[in-house]
């Protein structure tokens, strides 16, 4: 079966489109997060999503509607704990993340164990993206990208040198909160694609791969997005042909791209 044969199915078209959108989104935000050494925030927020989705399933609600506000609140907590308390950012992420998982496990046990729905969110199912979910992804992706473009220079300045950005009059606290909130929305969007367990790979791998070879920030941003889109599209195609789980295949393709660029960079460096 050729890729064109797959394309006649609407659910395949939705998977490719939503996948590419979320890839660009997570790769763009991921670059800011990786450079600010906040890579694991995606992991932490995805664990909170687990609790939020378990809560939604417990009450028979649509998970997206509950996950978005709850993960946003959790991101706000992480920000406040690390900014205003005597606490490092990774400790704040660890606390909020474990509370999210603990809440999810308790709720799952109260509803007589993990049901199939909850497990499907753990590992994702991009082929099950519905029409409303695609529209929601489109709107939220568009919104997040517009916000990133609008605040691009402030995000760039704060990521490079936060103290200088502050002195230049940039409201770095508000900007940090914005970055973490956008990450929260992206994490929830990406759950359906790769699942709670693998979300941080979408944020970290394309950005880290791009950083192996990019010489300028804009180049790194574009390269990171290109790698993410390539990994999602080729990972999806590969998963159809080889009958593999889509989310995990996307992550593995991302990893292979990273290994290739890392090795290439090392060889080039040794060659000089």
């Amino acid at each position: 079966m050729l890729i064109f044969d797959f394309w006649q199915y609407e659910f395949i078209q939705r998977a490719y489109l939503a996948g590419a959108l979320i890839a660009i989104l997570s790769a763009t935000l991921g670059l800011f997060l990786v450079l600010r050494r906040l890579s694991l925030i995606g992991d932490g927020l995805s664990h909170v999503s687990f609790g939020a989705i378990a809560l939604a399933l417990f009450f028979g609600l649509y998970p997206f509607y509950l996950a978005v506000p709850l993960v946003l609140i959790a991101s706000f907590f992480i920000f406040k704990l690390s900014e205003k308390s005597k606490m490092y950012g990774d400790s704040a992420i660890g606390i909020v993340s474990s509370v999210g998982i603990a809440a999810g496990v308790i709720l799952a046990s109260l509803s007589n164990g993990f049901n199939v729905d909850l497990l499907s969110y753990l590992f994702g199912n991009i082929l099950a993206i519905s029409q409303p979910e695609l529209y929601l992804s489109l709107v939220l992706s568009g919104l997040v990208l517009v916000i990133i473009l609008f605040f691009y220079n402030d995000l760039f300045s704060t990521t490079f040198d936060e103290a200088y950005a502050k002195i230049s009059g940039i409201k770095t606290d508000r900007l940090n909160l914005l970055l973490i909130s956008l990450t929260a929305i992206t994490v929830v969007l990406a759950i359906k694609m790769v699942g709670i367990m693998l979300i941080s790979a979408l944020l970290i791998l394309p950005a880290t791969s791009a950083l192996q070879i990019a010489k300028g920030f804009k180049v790194a941003l574009m390269l990171s997005s290109a790698i993410a889109v390539f990994s999602v599209l080729s990972g999806l195609s590969l998963s159809f042909y080889a009958n593999l789980p889509a989310g995990a295949t996307i992550v593995m393709v991302n990893f292979l791209v990273f290994v290739f660029l890392f090795s290439w960079q090392k060889l080039r460096f040794n060659g000089h």
């Binding site: 609008f150 402030d154 490079f160 200088y164 002195i167 009059g169 950083l211 010489k215 920030f217």
Partner: protein, 252 residues
């Protein structure tokens, strides 16, 4: 010359421990003020309070006529921090992108560089003799080259006041001399007001016209000529240092 900075009875403390106590001084336009004092004297804290990075406990301050707590005209202030090497070495950024931050952060949204801005970046890099570094990644430059690029970032918005926090700490003697000569040129030719924290006593004497010696409180503040004739200063600086500063100053 009009006053560009006026600090009055300023106090700052971290919890119960006082860092700055009843600090008062003024800086006039075109001054080259050296801020000296032992480690832990509160020099960097004072600069942070002036720049709004720390909130004063009490007292008042005016920067270019505005209250330091409400100051907004950041495009008029250039700043070269103490630790330029704290930036992430993995950050893929060219020298001209670093310099552009000096303009971008002060522009109105959506903060896009126009042709005039690009020319300013080019001119500033040219003026500091770093035009050849424009496209090179910042993490591939030497310490001295990086320092010049960061100085270009501080100067690109054509500030009225340049504040430097131990800018010469990582420089070799030759680069250090060139760096201080460059600052002197900016001060003399463009009447740029300079406030510099430095332990380089020889350079203080050679280039600065005012000295503020701080040890949690103001020990001395005034023209270097007065400092040289002050017997009180001998015990703080030691005979040798006071002599060295004054010798450099008189021979300049």
């Amino acid at each position: 010359m009009p006053e560009v900075l006026k600090i009055q009875n300023l106090n700052f403390s971290y919890g119960p421990s006082a860092v700055l106590s009843d600090v008062s001084f003024t800086v006039s336009q075109g001054d080259y003020l050296a801020l000296a004092g032992p480690n832990g004297a509160g020099k960097t804290t004072l600069i942070k309070v002036i720049l709004g990075l720390e909130k004063k406990t009490s007292g008042s301050g005016q920067l270019l006529g505005e209250d330091i707590d409400k100051f907004k005209s950041w495009e008029k202030i250039g700043y070269l921090p103490q630790k330029i090497h704290t930036f992430n070495p993995l950050f893929p950024v060219s020298a001209q992108e670093v310099v552009s931050l000096g303009l971008l952060s002060k522009k109105k949204y959506p903060k896009i560089l126009n042709l005039a801005d690009r020319q300013k970046i080019k001119n500033t890099l040219d003026r500091l003799g770093t035009a050849n570094l424009a496209r090179r990644p910042i993490n591939e430059l030497s310490g001295g080259e990086q320092q010049k690029v960061f100085l270009a970032r501080a100067l690109v918005s054509q500030p009225q006041i340049l504040i430097l926090d131990e800018p010469s700490a990582a420089l070799d003697p030759e680069t250090r001399t060139n760096f201080f000569q460059l600052l002197a040129k900016l001060n003399q030719e463009q009447k740029l007001t300079i406030i510099i924290i430095t332990h380089d006593t020889a350079y203080i004497g050679q280039y600065a016209n005012k000295l503020l010696y701080l040890d949690k409180k103001v020990i001395f503040c005034g023209p270097l000529v007065d400092f040289c004739h002050s017997p009180d200063m001998e015990k703080y600086f030691g005979v040798f240092s006071q002599h060295l500063i004054c010798h450099q100053h008189s021979s300049n």
